[in-house]
C-alpha cells in the first residue's frame, strides 16, 4: 500500500521485476528444480557407471525412446525394515529433543523477557554467541566431555559416585545431548520474540484480582504463546529429522537415523537412486511440519503486528 503511494508507476514495473525476479529465479533453479531431479533419479536403476544410475528415458534407436521406470527403490524402502526403523528413529529423536528443548528453552526465553530492559540484549547475545561458533566444533566438544575418560566420567569418579566409567559417548543419550545443545538457540529466540510482545494488561488485571503467579502463567501467558511454541518447535523438529553429523559423531552403530543412512547409501554404497528415494520420502514426511511452521509463523506475525 505504501509503495503504491511512493513509487512512480513508470519506474515501478522494471525495478520490481528485477528485485523480485533475481532471488526468485535463483531459488527456483537451485532449490526447487533439484528436488525434481531427486524424484527422477529415485525412479532409476543403480549401475556401475559415472554417474552411477541409468537414466530412465533412453533413446534406443532412431525415433525410439525407451522409458523404464524403476519402483524397486521404494519397494525396498518398504520391505527392508531397516529403512522404516531409521525413519522412526529420526522421528523419535526429533520429537523428544524438541520437547526437551522446549522444557529448557521456554524458562530461559521467559526469564530473558522478564529481565530488566538493559539486561535483555546482553542475555540474548549470550544465547546467539554459541550459534556463531562452528556447529561441527560444538558437537566435537561433547565428544571430549562424554567419552570414557572424558570430563563427566572424571568428575563422577573423582566424587566417588561411580567406580567404572559410564559409557555415554556412542549411545542414544549422547545423541539427545548433542541435538538439544545444538538446536536450543533456534527455539529460545522465536519464543523470546513471542513472549516479549505479549500484552501485559491481562496479567496486571489478573494480579489485581488476586491471581497467583503460577496460575497467571498457565491461564494467560502460556496459551498466548502457543503459536510461538509451535513455530519454534518446527524450527527444531524439521532439520533434526535429517540430521547427520550428530548421530554420526555422538551416536553408536545402532543409532538409526535417516540422514545417516542416506549418507551411507550415497557415499559408502554409491547407490544414488536409493539415496534419492530416501530423500524423497523424507521430503514428503516433512511437508506437514513445514506447512504447520509457516502457518504459525504467520499467525504470530499477524497477532503481534
Amino acid at each position: 500500500m505504501m509503495s503504491r503511494l511512493s513509487w512512480p508507476t513508470a519506474l515501478r514495473v522494471p525495478g520490481r521485476v528485477w528485485v523480485i525476479g533475481a532471488p526468485w529465479f535463483w531459488l527456483a533453479l537451485f532449490f526447487i528444480l533439484p528436488f525434481l531431479f531427486v524424484l527422477k533419479i529415485s525412479l532409476s536403476e543403480a549401475v556401475l557407471a559415472q554417474p552411477p544410475y541409468l537414466d530412465w528415458v533412453r533413446e534406443v534407436e532412431d525415433g525410439m525412446v525407451l522409458i523404464q521406470l524403476n519402483f524397486g527403490n521404494y519397494l525396498m524402502l518398504w520391505e527392508d525394515s531397516l529403512y522404516l526403523a531409521a525413519l522412526w528413529g529420526s522421528f523419535k529423536v526429533a520429537a523428544i529433543s524438541t520437547l526437551i528443548c522446549l522444557l529448557i528453552g521456554y524458562p530461559m526465553a521467559y526469564a530473558i523477557a522478564l529481565a530488566p530492559n538493559h539486561w535483555r540484549m546482553p542475555l540474548l547475545m549470550l544465547i546467539i554467541l554459541p550459534f556463531w561458533t562452528s556447529f561441527l566444533i560444538r558437537v566435537y566438544a561433547w565428544m571430549g566431555i562424554l567419552k570414557d575418560n572424558g570430563l563427566i566420567n572424571q568428575v563422577l569418579m573423582g566424587m566417588g559416585l561411580i567406580s567404572e566409567p559410564l559409557q555415554i559417548l556412542h549411545t542414544p543419550v549422547a545423541v539427545y545431548i548433542g541435538v538439544v545443545y545444538s538446536y536450543l538457540p533456534f527455539l529460545v529466540l522465536p519464543l523470546y520474540a513471542t513472549l516479549i510482545r505479549l500484552d501485559n494488561t491481562l496479567l496486571e488485571a489478573a494480579a489485581d484480582l488476586g491471581c497467583r503467579p503460577w496460575k497467571q502463567f498457565l491461564t494467560i501467558t502460556l496459551p498466548q504463546s502457543v503459536p510461538g511454541i509451535l513455530a519454534g518447535s518446527m524450527l527444531v523438529f524439521i532439520p533434526v529429522m535429517g540430521e547427520f553429523v550428530i548421530p554420526d559423531l555422538l551416536g553408536g552403530p545402532d543409532t538409526l537415523m535417516i540422514g545417516k543412512l542416506m549418507w551411507t547409501e550415497f557415499f559408502s554404497n554409491k547407490d544414488w537412486p536409493l539415496a534419492s528415494a530416501l530423500a524423497s520420502v523424507l521430503l514428503v514426511v516433512l511437508i506437514i511440519p513445514f506447512v504447520l511452521m509457516r502457518h504459525y509463523e504467520q499467525k504470530t506475525a499477524d497477532n503481534l503486528g
Binding site: S6, L27, I145, Q154
Partner: protein, 271 residues
C-alpha cells in the same frame, strides 16, 4: 519482574552453563600438554605450533575462507533483493512463492539440499556442459543458495521496522527510487547487511554436509578436514583450531553487540 521468580533465574543460569561448559572445556584442553585431550598434564602451546605446521589443514582453511567471502558477498545481494521484495512488494506476483522458497532452506535437512544440488549439477553438466565437474564453483553455488535465505531473514526484520518517512520525503521531493535506495535505504539498513554478511560467512565456513556432496577432487574445505580428523577421535590440534575460531567469532560478535547495544540505548534516551 524477574526478581519475583527465583526459579526462573536459576533455570536461566543453568541454561547458560549448559551452553558454555563445552566451549570452555574445549578452550582449556587446547592448552593441555598431553595428547589424551582430557587428562591434564601441564600448560603448553605446542598444539598451536603443530596446527600451523599442518599444511593440508591450512590449505583447506584458505579454500574455505575464499568460498565463504565470495558466498557472503553474493548472498548479501540476493538476500537484500529478496528481503526488499518480501517487505515492500506485497502485492506483486511471485511474492507468496518467494516467501515459501526463502523459508524452506532454513529448515531443510542438509542431506537433502546436498544430494539434490549434486543431482542438479550432474544433470546440468550433461545438458549444457556447465558447471564442468565439481569443485569450488559448485560449492559456492550451493552455499549462496542456503546463505541468502538467512541473509533475507536478517535484512527483512530490519526493513520491516524501518522508519520510512525520510524515504517518502525524498521521493516527494522528486528523487528517483534507485537513488533513494542507494542514498537513504541502504545506509539505514547497513548494520543488518553487515550482520547478514558475517552470518553468511560463518555458515559457509561451517558447512560440512552440503559441501561433501557437491565438492570434487581438489576442493577440500576446512570442515571436511576437521570431520575426517574428528572421526578418528579427539585430537588436541582440533581443540587449538576450535579455540582460534571461537576467539575470532566472539570478538567479532562482541564488538557488533556493543555497537548495537549503544545504538539501542541512545535511541531509548532520545525517546
Amino acid at each position: 519482574m524477574l526478581k519475583r521468580y527465583p526459579l526462573l533465574i536459576v533455570m536461566l543460569i543453568l541454561g547458560y552453563l549448559f551452553l558454555y561448559m563445552p566451549i570452555v572445556s574445549l578452550v582449556i584442553y587446547s592448552f593441555n600438554e598431553s595428547r589424551l585431550v582430557t587428562v591434564w598434564s601441564g600448560f603448553s602451546t605446542k598444539w598451536y605450533v603443530e596446527l600451523f605446521n599442518n599444511k593440508p589443514l591450512l590449505n583447506a582453511a584458505a579454500t574455505s575462507i575464499k568460498i565463504a567471502a565470495l558466498n557472503a558477498t553474493a548472498a548479501i545481494v540476493l538476500g537484500t533483493l529478496a528481503a526488499l521484495a518480501l517487505v515492500r512488494f506485497r502485492q506483486s506476483r511471485g511474492h507468496k512463492s518467494l516467501g515459501v522458497m526463502v523459508t524452506a532452506p532454513l529448515v531443510m535437512p542438509e542431506v537433502i539440499i546436498g544430494l539434490s544440488l549434486l543431482l542438479l549439477f550432474v544433470a546440468m553438466e550433461d545438458l549444457i556442459g556447465w558447471p564442468q565437474g565439481r569443485g569450488l564453483t559448485t560449492i559456492l553455488l550451493a552455499h549462496i543458495t542456503f546463505s541468502m535465505a538467512y541473509v533475507t531473514v536478517v535484512v527483512q526484520s530490519r526493513l520491516a521496522h524501518m522508519d520510512r518517512s525520510i524515504e517518502e520525503a525524498a521521493l516527494d521531493l522528486g528523487a528517483k527510487p534507485l537513488k533513494v535506495f542507494f542514498t537513504i535505504t541502504l545506509p539505514m539498513i547497513a548494520p543488518s547487511l553487515l550482520a547478514g554478511w558475517l552470518l553468511a560467512f560463518t555458515l559457509s565456513l561451517d558447512d560440512l554436509v552440503i559441501a561433501s556432496f557437491v565438492s570434487g577432487p581438489g576442493s577440500t574445505t576446512l570442515p571436511m578436514v576437521v570431520y575426517s580428523s574428528v572421526r578418528l577421535g579427539v585430537s588436541p590440534e582440533i581443540n587449538a583450531l576450535a579455540t582460534i575460531i571461537i576467539a575470532i567469532v566472539s570478538t567479532a560478535v562482541l564488538i557488533a553487540g556493543v555497537i548495537m547495544y549503544r545504538q539501542e540505548m541512545n535511541k531509548q534516551k532520545r525517546l
